[in-house]
Every structure is written in C-alpha cells, then in structure tokens.
Amino acid sequence: MDLSLIIMQLLSGIALGAVLVITALGLTIVFGMLGVVNFAHGALFMIGAYAGLYLASLTGSFWWGLLLAPVLIGAFGMLIEFVLIRRLYGRSIDDPLLLTFGLSYILVEAVRIVFGSDGIPFPTPPQLIGVLDLGVGFFPRYRLFVIALVAVVLVVLWLALEKTRIGLIVRAGARDPTIMQVLGVDIGRVWLAIFGLGVGLAALGGVLAGPMRSVNPEMGSLVLAEAFVVTVIGGLGSIVGAVVAGLMVGISISLVALFAPEMATIVMFALMAVVLLIRPEGLFGVRGRTA
C-alpha cells in the first residue's frame, strides 16, 4: 500500500472527524449543562444544511450561508428550549429525550414538505473548488478549509469557556445549578443560551458537511447515530472527549474504507462496543455521571 495514499486518507479522516467533532460537541455541551440528550440533534444538523443551502442561494454567497445558518438555527433551538424542553425539567430524564425524538419526526417531515424528499446537491464555494498540492499528494481545498475552520471554532470555544466570565458561570452551572441560583445567577437564561449554542453547532456541522455529501431529509439519522457513538466513546459531557473521539472515529472510518470498504460503516460501532466493555463511562467520562 502506497504511503502517500494512506496519508491522504488520514487527512480525509480528519476532515470527516472534524464535522463529527463539531456535531458531537453540540450534543455533549447540552448534556453536560442541562442533562438533556437531544434526539433531534441529527434533524437539526440536517435543517442546518438546508438553511445553509437556502441562505447561500438567496444571498449568492456560501459565506453568508455558513455564517447565518448556525445563528438562525441556534435561535430556533432557543425557541425549542423555551417552549418545549423547559417544561420537562424536574421530570424523568427520559422525557426530554422522548420529546426531542418526536420533534425530529416533525422537523424531517417539515423539510420534506418545503424542499421535497429528494437529495439536493450542495455546491462547493468557488474559492475552495479543486485540490491543493501538499507534496505527498493532492487534497481537496474544501476539506482543508473544514479542518481549519473547526480548529478555529474549537479554540474560540475553549477560550470562551476557560477565560471569560460567562465561561466561568457556564462551568460552575454545569457542576451545581442550585448553588448558582443561590448566588443570583439566572440559570434558566444560561440553559437557554447553552441549548442554542448546541443546536447552532449542529447546524454548523450540517453546513460544513453539505458540500462533502448531498443534502437530503434523511441525512440526520446517520449523523445522530454517529454523534452518539462519538459522545459515548469520548464520555458524555466531556468536551475533550468529543474532540478526541470524533477524530478517532473519522480516521478509523477513512482508513478502514481504504482496506475493507464494506466494513467502513460498521467499524465505529465496533469501536464503541470495545470502549464500553473496557470503560463504560467513555474515555474521558467521569464515573457516576452517566445518569
């Protein structure tokens, strides 16, 4: 096997993993703060892709789509939290999960009504069409851009969480919401914002994935399973875990596709089963925070 081919496939895996990281990050941040697993996350990823496509064709520029879709869908996510999920705090932990599952049905069908059931191609922005010579081989520019953008988003998120006052409130709120309320923080507003952020990240993942795979109403269901696998491997609620596991899954899918294409869709589930047998709380999960 050619070494340069393996390196190229490795890079493809990182690009694939980068989208997984962003998507799983949204899921894991929301769980870490609110204790809610959002089963509509895949559907919101799909809506993000459609919104990006629609806004790009409306404004004539991919960049507006990339910028506006996560913001708009994130705001929509805040609406979901405010109208629906907020009612379920204090009830069984299964209830928000069931509710968001029902919601995903509604969202997928709504997209089918508006955009039709068939897949739509998502054009790559003209500046990023083509390949770049990396010395060892040619690599699509768009995929390099995805890797770079995700890296930037991760650094910004990390800085926001670790170095700002708002980040401090968020981290403290994840640890003990009651004490935060006693200290005079409106924890409801923090949760609203975090849910919006999580949904926004799903939408960003959707827009980024758009040009790499075609956009269709069912694309969310595979993404949801992928995001679950990544968060379970990394440890639910762990940001570092989501990043490491996302890249791990992306790279293993890519490399396995090179040697045994028919195993590519299966390998991530096998990886998850192995991790669960060794560490049921995930690689970076905290024991006892699984409920």
Binding site: D95, G102, F269, L276
Partner: protein, 332 residues
Amino acid sequence: MTSPSSGEAVAKSSSGGLGWLLEQRVLLSIAVLAVLPWLLPSQALAVNVLIYGVVVMGYNLLFGYTGLLSFGQAAFFGAGAYFTGIAIGRYGVPWFAAVPIAVLLSTCLAAAIGIVSTRTRGIYFSMVTLALAQLVYYVALQASSVTGGENGLRGFTVDRINLFGFPVNFLDPVNKYYVLMAFAALAMWFQSRILNSPFGAVIEAIRENEQRARACGYDVERSKLIVFMLSGAISSLGGCMLALHLSIVPLDLLHYQTSGMIVMMVLLGGARSFFGPFVGAASFLILEDVISVWTPHWQLFVGAIFVLFVLFLPKGIWGTLLDTLRVGKARP
C-alpha cells in the same frame, strides 16, 4: 425473593372487582384481540395491530416495567423476521420449526447486545442501544448475499400450513389472523407469567430504585441482562409473525426509525400496563391509516401528537384510563 411479589398480590386483590378483572388480563386481552378484525376498518390493519402489539409488549417489559429506555428494539423485531425468512427460504425449514429457531437466535443477539449495553446506565443506555441496533442494520445491509441487502429478504412464502393434520390456507386473511393470534396469545401468557413471578417484582424494584434494589441484595446487572433478553425474545416473535404475514422482510425493519416507532407506540398506549402496548399499536396504526389518506406527510402529525403525549399525557391512553378507573373505585 418473595416479599415484593406477595406485596403486589395483596395490593391487587384489595382493589376488589377490578383487581379480579386485572388478574384475568391474558384472557381479557385475547378476547379483545379475537374480535379485533371486526372492530377495525380492515383485516390488514388488524394483523398489523397483532404483530406490532406483540413487539411493543415485549418492549414494554424493558421500558415500562424495568424503566430501561432502549432505542434498539428494532434489532430483535428485525432479527426475528430475518431469521424466520432465512430459515424457511434458504434452508427449507418448516414454518413451525423456523419460528422457535428464529426466536432462539434473536435471543442470542439480544444477549450479545445486552452484555454491552446493560453495562451502561441512564441516558447512555438509550444511546448505546440505538448505536448497536444501527450496527445490526448495517451488517444486514452489507451481508446482501444472505439478507438481500437494500431490497429486503424475499423468496419465501408460506401459503399452506398443516395444523394438527388439518390443511389451512394461510393466504386467507381470517385464517392467517387466527394462526398469528395463537402466537400473540402465547406471548401474552409468557409475559404475564414473567410479571407475576418474583423476577417480575425484582425488575419493577429496579425501576423504582436501582440503588435500593442493589442494597436489598438483588443482582441488578444480571436481572437487566435477563430482562433485555426476554424482551428481545418476545419482540422477535413479533418479527417471526411479520415474516409469515408479509413473505418479505424489508430492510427498514431494522432501522432505528422502527425502534422509535415502537417507543412511540408504547407511550401512546401506556407503558407499564399489560394491554397498553396493543392500544398503542392500534392507535398509532389507525392514526397512520387515517392521516395518510389525505396527506403523505402523516409523520408530521404523528410526531406532533407524540410530543403532546409526552408533555401532557405521559401515561398514555390506556394507562390514563386505568388510572381514572382506579381513582373512581377508591372514592365511595
């Protein structure tokens, strides 16, 4: 081991006439199912209610009675159907032997998935069961030489069966319904036995308070694994029924959307109640039937109705009905 079950028995008999009625739940349920084809608008709908009722009932053992929210029940539903079809079509096994073989193999699959997934708790369990069931889906998709891949499994038809010496035309909808109903009755009897056994009390204890059940000396992990397998076994019987009914097995049966549908059905009907799964399956299928007449987008309405149920009627139709009846009884 006996104290929780005897406590439950006392609670039941003290509620008087309704308690007696509830103890005859298997007979009552069979009686309702026996007249179902004449209550519903079509025979096809009645057969589906029967099949999905059994699948959802098996799932209810896990979700309703043990409190484990699995999103992977489609794996066992599908496995039962695929194993039945493969046994009949590929190996020429007679249908009455194919069904127990398929249930046995599906139970082994449930054991494998259960060993991994019951190690996790809470929300993890839902995510892991969904992912592992998707693994089964992709394996069935890739192994197309055995499963038929995307086209589904074809090439096996049960048209004429021999029932204790009497030849029965299985293509006749009425005959088919009552043969399949015998399976459903068997499944209901089995489930009722489980629930009335000391083990049935243990799983409810786990649902109410896992820590306390553990402190009482019950092996929580082992009980969860056993209930996961039992639940898978009953749901896989529903899959066998579907294979005999349709003579094809669609690949979508294994997709997690099917698991989601099973979850919706159990919630619509009412988790934790014996007959709730059949009510849920019937409501879901009737809803689908009625709405799809005037719009192809029935999923929009089903999703919305489900969301409303989660918000305002979490005990489902049958569960809420039973609650109101019990409250009515308690008041003089």
